[in-house]
Amino acid sequence: MPKKKILIIDDEPDVITYLTAVLEANGYDSFAVSEIKNAMDKVKEIRPDLICLDIVMPGETGISFYSKLRQEKGFDSIPVIIISGMVEREKFDFHSYVSDDSISKPDCYIEKPINVDYFIEKVKELTSKKILTKR
């Protein structure tokens, strides 16, 4: 069975190294982009099973990238985990950043620094889900 592909989008090299190590130790194939302007091309190139996305990045925010992804035909159902230190998990309100209600909320929000067990549990859950309908 081929390994699931996970794409990490974060401007912080240490975060990329950390998440890569965690994912690979748990049997996933990881890819990374540190500049958000290259992220969509990477998504189209590798067609990941899951994306781990930071919010605060130079140039464009992760939220803005997420909104574009959800409107991109053929890629709009890729599960996304937002990983950020911006707000606490229980206080994260996606629609306070995006007023367009037609854009669905991200599949999961994990606060930095991550809890490895919880992170892997969520990765497992979201990559094993069979997405029957389009969002």
Binding site: E12, D14, D54, V56, M57, P58, G85, M86
Partner: protein, 468 residues
């Protein structure tokens, strides 16, 4: 006795009929029998619009007023009157009014008008003699500061034993001109009050100032509101600072957790390369913690700049020297431009060094974020009109309007996990401590110019203050 009273007295019923009047009244206003009060007092055919009897009926208390009437010879006359309610029989119904009037001359009338104006103006007015004793005070003043006539103004206003420093009244006595200041005093109840005071000379013949008139406006409430706004802004700034700080700390913690994870994974797999990689991550994030704490302390420190006479040109060359390798490694040209006749200035060397390093490091980051090749950063220093001007410009990614609004005011970064949001805040703070200004001229995609301007006069006066 009623007939002998030295005032004009009349008794009037609720239908405005005069039912009784004394001799003085009859001599003054003429025949009143079977006449209405308004016919006798004012020769009107209908009741007066401002009839005081209506007030008396409302409050059941006497009313004092001044008015203009017409005597029996048709001559206009000013009078002061008091109307009393008269009750007859049981119950509280008022059936009659007694009106006592006393005629006044034109001069008396205007004196009274002036007194009323003086008393009723809604601010504190006092007249002060050359010995700083209060000779007159209006009603608002007396209500707020008590019985003050003959007392020293400084004792009344501030409960002090000696004259105040920078006393505006003293200045007016000296130069005869108006002076203004904001003062703090204590009212009759012992409460602290803030007031804006203006003084003006009272010259009655001759050139010397006989008295000074002092008009004060109570601004205690205004000060309170101002303080509330400042406090709300302070709390908002604290909130933003804490949120920004928490974000930076979480990023560092993520790096530390990552380092720990990779070291332990390397140990488990006996992978030396992995152990080294994790260890480097730990070291890098410990360094980040140190630098965050240093930046934060430098931002939070409220201090006067340690000014010394330094050459701004040397400072610019130091920065170029510091950053030339970093810029070259990233393919960015770092240039300097020195204006004509740049003179030494009283600057805090370390402070301005911090400002310039923050601006140059931001400019390099902006060049790296931009798309085009041939990026460069230019540091310049020049003399303006009584100003020393530093400028750091780049042709990098530029700043859009929304970001420009935030960069100097909040804990804000566009560098994601790489920035703390403290650089420009600290820079602005240092510039302000030097009495200077910082501005940015930029548009998205068109590079940016950060300009720091220092008034030489201001630098010099701050330097003198710091030496005192």
């Amino acid at each position: 006795m009623f007939q002998q009273l030295p005032y004009n007295v009349a008794v009037i019923d609720r239908e405005y009929n005069i039912v009784e009047a004394n001799r003085s009244f009859t001599e003054y206003f003429g025949n009143w029998h079977n006449k209405k009060c308004y016919e006798v007092y004012k020769k009107l055919e209908e009741p007066c619009n401002d009839c005081p009897a209506i007030e008396v009926l409302k409050d059941k208390k006497s009313v004092v007023f001044d008015s203009i009437g017409i005597d029996q010879h048709g001559k206009k006359t000013h009078y002061v009157a008091q109307v009393f309610p008269l009750k007859t029989g049981r119950g509280s119904k008022i059936n009659y009014f007694m009106e006592m009037t006393n005629t006044v001359t034109e001069k008396d009338h205007w004196q009274q008008e002036c007194q009323i104006l003086f008393d009723r103006v809604p601010c504190y007015i006092s007249v002060i003699g050359e010995d700083f004793r209060i000779v007159r005070a209006n009603e608002a003043f007396r209500e707020n500061f008590g019985d003050v006539i003959g007392q020293f103004c400084y004792k009344v206003y501030k409960r002090k034993k000696t004259k105040c420093r920078n006393c505006p009244a003293e200045k007016t006595f000296k130069d005869g001109k108006a002076h203004h200041s904001i003062q703090q005093g204590i009212d009759v109840k012992g409460q602290k009050i803030h007031y804006a005071v203006s003084t003006s000379a009272l010259i009655r013949g001759g050139d010397s100032v006989a008295h000074v008139i002092e008009i004060s406006d109570d601004i205690t409430e205004l000060r309170k509101l101002e303080n509330e706004v400042i406090e709300a802004e302070r709390l908002a700034a604290v909130g933003q600072t804490v949120a920004g700080l928490a974000h930076s700390i979480k990023n560092i913690l993520m790096g530390l957790e990552g380092g720990k994870y990779i070291v332990s994974l390397g140990l488990k797999k006996n992978n030396k390369e992995m152990i080294n990689q994790g260890w480097e991550m730990l070291e890098r994030n410990f360094d980040k913690t140190t630098s965050l704490v240093k930046d934060f302390l430098s931002f939070s420190k409220g201090r006067l700049p340690k000014q010394e006479m330094i050459d701004p040109v040397d400072l610019v060359l130091e920065i170029v020297d510091l950053y030339k390798d970093i810029a070259a490694q990233s393919g960015i040209k770092l240039k300097s431009k020195i204006g004509k006749n740049v003179k030494p200035a009283q600057l805090d060397h370390d402070g301005i060094h911090t400002c310039l390093t923050n601006l140059v490091s931001n400019a390099i980051d902006a060049c790296l974020m931009g798309d085009h090749k041939g990026t460069e950063v230019l540091i310049s220093v020049s003399e303006g009109r009584d100003k020393l001007i530093f400028e750091v410009s780049d042709n990098g990614s530029g700043i859009d309007y929304e970001i420009k609004k935030k960069i100097f005011t909040t804990f804000f970064t566009t560098k994601g996990g790489q920035g703390t949001g403290l650089g420009l805040l600290t820079t602005r703070k240092i510039v302000k401590e030097h009495g200077g200004n910082i501005k940015v001229i930029s548009h998205k995609g068109e590079g940016a110019r950060f300009i720091m301007e220092f008034s030489r006069k201001r630098l010099s006066s701050l330097y003198k203050q710091s030496k005192e």
